[in-house]
């Protein structure tokens, strides 16, 4: 699955803004997650917590290819997508803490970040359940006659749920504007793809539904951007869904409690050689897209953003326990059973 490290890009294909966005957004995701990992160790963050380190290009390259009216949904590995979309890092960090100021007021936690202001629709904890939801979100766009689409992420493990196959068939049947993305990081917890699937080339799974399907080197943010832009064009033309297999890798364990006995150090190192942030940084440097000072500015800005996010989360109040009764029903006077 691992492809050869790409060498210096032949030519600069995108604008300075785009390269800057990729570098800055991926760096923010990386530093944020590193910090979250530390804070988890200090028990500031509890519960299940899944980091995105190594996979940043999967989110960043897609965000640059879409518009702000498109919709986003993913599984529980969900801190990075909203960060890239523009959610305040403080709101995400406060949610990890469970504070009242969190993106979901402390009701969601790490696995259930939601931010309507950037069209980020969660944050879902049941493997594969978000796939038909993403289908429905895209369905609503078409029903309403917009040109928007839904970007629907899942893991390599999720494609072994029936929900995936039902959703692919329905999406083709109704020509729904959805981009289904398999973030194939090689493992579902400790289970390698080859141990859960007779077919290792997951991009072929769309074939039995005649869905346009492609494998993408997702350690390369440009490749991600290109594939998503193409799929988006199809969706906006009314040609329906696309399946993209993003070949990626997570450097950290599945969640914060993973001894990682199922893989070798060498394998992890091999992927780090193709790090998506280092790759884009090299392109930027080799082609003088940003000066060394400008890069340093971004590094400092991101560092400060993460520090501010932690400070915000630390200083924010816990939610009032009674607020647990809010947001259960839209009906304001719902008669809860109180004993």
């Amino acid at each position: 699955m691992a492809k050869k490290s790409s060498t210096t890009k032949a030519k600069v294909k995108y604008s300075k803004e785009t390269y800057t966005f990729w570098y800055e957004s991926m760096l923010l995701m990386r530093r944020f997650e590193e910090k979250a990992g530390q804070l988890y160790g200090q028990q500031k963050i509890r519960g299940f917590c899944h980091l995105y380190i190594g996979q940043e290009a999967c989110a960043s390259g897609a965000i640059s290819a879409l518009t702000k009216d498109d919709k986003w949904i993913t599984a529980y590995r969900d801190h990075a997508h909203p960060l890239g979309l523009g959610t305040d890092p403080g709101a995400v960090m406060a949610e990890l803490y469970g504070k009242a100021t969190g993106a979901s007021k402390g009701k969601g936690g790490s696995m259930h970040i939601f931010d309507k202001s950037v069209n980020f629709i969660g944050g879902h904890g049941i493997v594969g359940a978000q796939i038909p939801l993403g289908l429905g979100i895209g369905f609503a766009e078409k029903y309403k006659g917009t040109k928007n689409l839904c970007m629907c992420y899942m893991g390599d493990g999720a494609v072994r749920q029936g929900a995936f196959h039902e959703a692919l068939n329905l999406a083709m049947l109704y020509k729904t504007p959805v981009i289904f993305v398999i973030e194939n990081n090689g493992y579902a917890m400790g289970t390698a793809v080859r141990r859960s699937s007779n077919v290792e080339d997951l991009s072929t799974l769309g074939e039995s539904y005649d869905m346009p399907s492609f494998a993408v080197d997702a350690m390369d943010v440009e490749a991600v951007h290109e594939a998503v832009a193409e799929a988006a064009e199809r969706a906006r033309k009314g040609d329906g869904p696309t399946l993209l297999e993003f070949r990626t890798y997570r450097y950290k364990g599945h969640s914060m409690s993973d001894p990682q006995k199922y893989r070798t150090r060498e394998e992890v190192e091999e992927y780090k050689q193709r790090d998506p942030i280092e790759q884009v940084k090299k392109t930027i440097e080799d082609n003088n897209i940003l000066t060394a000072e400008e890069i340093e500015e971004i590094n400092k800005k991101v560092k400060k953003q993460v520090e501010d996010a932690v400070k915000f989360a630390e200083e924010s109040p816990w939610p009032d326990g009674k607020a647990a009764f809010e947001d259960v029903y839209v009906q304001e006077d719902y008669p809860f059973i109180m004993e």
């Binding site: 309507k116 629709i121 359940a129 038909p132 029903y143 929900a163 039902e166 839209v330 009906q331 008669p335």
Partner: protein, 326 residues
């Protein structure tokens, strides 16, 4: 007023709401070209076209999730299950997605959806086509569960369910679709969560809902022959439950019998009995009794069915017991 069948009440409620709000659409197996497995969507494809009435493949999980996603994103789907027995392959989307989305997102995304179809037995269909799920869904915060017993209620409650901003489980019965009743020609809605006293009485409170209301009403007539004056309550909604109406009635009659088609453990009847002892303990002159399906799957032969389901005879026995007339 016009006399219509239960299936027409369902169809009329859906059609009226679809005329009123273009964000309402119907989706399910055989709902469009076939006009509904039980003809509850007769003529709707003709009126609204394939952009509003969708036939699906046999993919309950997929199209239930589609409905929830569409509801999150501004539409008001009506998702039909051929029966709720088949909702089990989709129950994750109902419980984990529809019911919890509003809370998990802290009020950012609500799910105005109706999941509807028949619940419970419909005669000799064997174990897998005969389960009751009213209490299953009623157990889940975030949902509302409506179980009408007649065409008038079905129409008014379904219209209210479609307009509701929370996810609603709306349960019918294959055995009721042909029931006829006079309903107003002009528009009406009925509130979710309000029980109805179908018959006033002073000796025993008899509570039921859904198609078991027929058993309850017939038993009340039987009891009258024995000079037992039964007050009959139709819950109409089992989440939320209109406890106030129940408690007030039991405080008056001092006796209560509950008729429910579901199996007995952790049933709606269990919950009612708890609440009655909790809030009307000093008023009770007899233990609360209930008539549920027996604690077994429903088997095929008519004799098994007779031995399993609630019926008028068992209900009469319970009524006589609580009035100490047996």
């Amino acid at each position: 007023m016009s006399v219509i069948q239960f299936r027409d009440a369902i169809r009329d409620a859906m059609s009226e709401e679809m005329r009123r709000d273009k964000n309402v659409f119907l989706m399910g197996e055989e709902v469009a070209e076939y006009n509904g497995a039980y003809k509850a969507s007769q003529g709707m494809l003709d009126e609204f076209g394939p952009e509003r009435v969708y036939d699906t493949p046999i993919s309950e999980l997929g199209f239930s999730g589609l409905g929830v996603g569409a509801a999150i994103n501004g539409l008001r789907p009506i998702i039909e299950y051929m029966t709720f027995n088949f909702s089990l392959v989709a129950i994750d989307q109902i419980i984990n997605s529809a019911a919890k989305m509003y809370a998990m997102s802290a009020g950012q995304y609500n799910v105005p959806i109706v999941f509807r179809g028949p619940t419970g037995n419909a005669g000799q269909l064997g174990a897998q086509h005969s389960s009751n799920f009213e209490n299953w869904f009623a157990n889940t915060p975030g949902l509302k569960v409506v179980v009408p017993s007649n065409p008038y209620d079905a129409k008014g409650l379904l219209k209210a369910s479609i307009r509701d901003d929370d996810p609603v489980i709306f349960m019918e019965s294959e055995l009721m679709y042909g029931d006829k009743m006079e309903v107003p020609d002009s528009e009406y809605l009925l509130p979710i969560g309000v029980a109805e006293i179908k018959k006033k009485g002073k000796d025993v409170t008899l509570i039921s809902f859904g198609k078991m209301m027929k058993v309850a009403l017939e038993a009340a007539e039987e009891a009258a022959k024995d000079d037992i004056d039964v007050e009959v309550i139709d819950l109409r909604t089992v989440r939320p439950i209109d406890y106030a109406t129940v408690i007030e009635s039991v405080k008056k009659t001092n006796r209560c019998v509950i008729v429910e088609e579901a199996n007995p453990l952790a049933a709606i009847s269990s919950d009612l009995a708890f609440n009655i002892q909790r809030h009307a303990f000093d008023y009770l002159d007899a233990p609360v009794l209930r008539v549920n399906s027996m604690d077994i799957p429903l088997s095929y032969a008519p004799t098994y069915i007779e031995a399993t389901l609630p019926n008028v005879k068992r209900t009469m026995e319970a009524i006589k017991k609580v009035t100490y007339k047996s």
